[in-house]
Symmetry: C2
Subunit: 285 residues, 2 copies
């Protein structure tokens, strides 16, 4: 049980950011951590990386508490939105510094990635644009070679070409040197094929925690004329529905019948649509 | 010819941001403006809105130059990344101020949108998170009711639920009160179904400018065993190709044959994949 998150609660002045969160992150698997802004994703990740303390609960890595534990903390790396280096440091110096902290950091690989992304390594970190600041941080993550790797919104501000490059590099890395990767992102559709296990949190609570395939089999989409569809939906667990010009589409929890009633059509849900449906469940428009 | 962009060139100290860009933006249509970071999209939009001056060329709106022309400028609104209000102003005061500048600004609608997005209108603009700063600006755009509307990265930092809400509101608005909308975004897949006309720019030059449907019919994807595919590709205009475990996929400019050769498979390209292919054309990995 490589990472055990036990009963974490974190309270800020007014708000409960995490509410008794327990999770197990297994070895050599890619996790998607999904949640809306303010759901508690970044707080969770920064507690795992011991950058914040919880009010209650603890995080164990290979059985050891991470808090104030250099031995455990050297096994993980969090690519977050904070820059941990002095901001007037140049990119190439930051790569060299990373090598001092993380002996497995692959300096030539980091430099080759900088070239691929056209990140100028003689620039100061503070002078990077939103997109290039993201690129700088995700290169650190791709090159650091710790057994546990956390990415918090790694592609913020990246264009489609650079996002695509990042996803391909991540898969390459994972194939060559398997490790535990947790990606927290709002671009759910783009990582749906990468994540083997999905964790969804809402308002500080875990609402889903299972293999992505299993999750996707737990609901389906059905579409048809509104009156007919409403009849079909009676007694079913409807997560969300929409009407566009007389045609209604609903997302339903459960397994569809072998054949849809005449006039209706079943289809598979995609992960992002399913996520949105779950988020809307208690917040209908 | 509502907006005529004539031969715009913009040079910054070292770089040519726009290189003789000419475009016509027709009435009551939704445009997608696509390009990588640094391609010149934001520069183009801010020149259209007269927030920057070009080195050469001009922008005409309904036949009048926009530069220093209040009459023309009141017909357009740019939702950009800059906040144009004093940053210690509260959101609700900013809405009221927008009404002074743009008489058609729909104040009750803006307030109802703030409620839908859970934007607290008694907050100062400066205190909003990245996501809520985006939400504040896109509400201004949705409520302003000018005949020309430009969105520059409107969904930066928004979670999937809020992005989905924005796209739906935009379509609703467009259906109720047609206008010319230009959306510049890196999340191409998400707007592919909304944009009727696509403009792609690369390194300051327009490389595509045509109806989205026409654009998508101009290329296709083909997949199969590498050796077989390479044989098929001989003499064809290959935009990009990838290998994953012996299976190769290529994006080809042109129209596919009625039937693929045995062992190969044709499929339609999606707009984001096509965009990435075009961007890679001269920058192979």
């Amino acid at each position: 049980m490589p990472i055990e998150i036990q009963n974490l609660t974190k309270i800020f002045r007014k708000a409960t950011a995490l509410d008794q969160v327990s999770l197990t992150l297994g070895e050599n698997r890619i996790y998607g951590l999904l949640g809306n802004n303010g759901a508690g994703k970044s707080t969770l990740l920064s507690i795992i990386a011991d950058r914040q303390l919880p009010n209650k609960g603890c995080v164990l890595l290979d059985g050891e508490p991470v808090h104030n534990n250099d031995h455990a903390l050297h096994k993980l790396f969090l690519v977050g939105d904070q820059n941990l280096f002095p901001s007037d440091l140049k990119v190439k110096k930051a790569f060299a510094a990373a090598k001092l902290f993380y002996p497995e950091f692959d300096l030539p690989y980091a430099e080759s990635l900088a070239e691929k992304f056209e990140l100028k390594t003689n620039k100061k970190i503070s002078s990077l644009s939103t997109g290039y600041a993201s690129i700088f941080r995700l290169i650190l993550g791709l090159a650091v070679n710790t057994p546990y790797l956390f990415f918090d919104e790694p592609v913020l501000g990246l264009d489609a070409q650079h996002r695509d490059l990042f996803y391909r590099l991540l898969m390459e890395k994972y194939a060559e040197r398997p490790c535990t990767i947790v990606v927290s992102t709002h671009l759910i559709a783009e990582i749906a094929n990468l994540v083997e296990h999905t964790v969804m949190i809402r308002r500080g609570k875990v609402i889903r925690d299972c293999p992505t395939e299993e999750l996707m089999a737990a609901a389906y989409s059905v579409c048809g004329p509104a009156a007919q569809l409403d009849h079909y939906l009676t007694g079913k667990a409807v997560l969300s529905s929409r009407i566009l010009g007389g045609l209604k589409t609903a997302c339903v929890q459960g397994t569809p019948e072998a054949e849809p009633p005449t006039g209706l059509e079943f289809s598979k849900l995609d992960l992002q649509a399913y996520f949105i449906s779950l988020m809307e469940e208690e917040n209908p428009l």
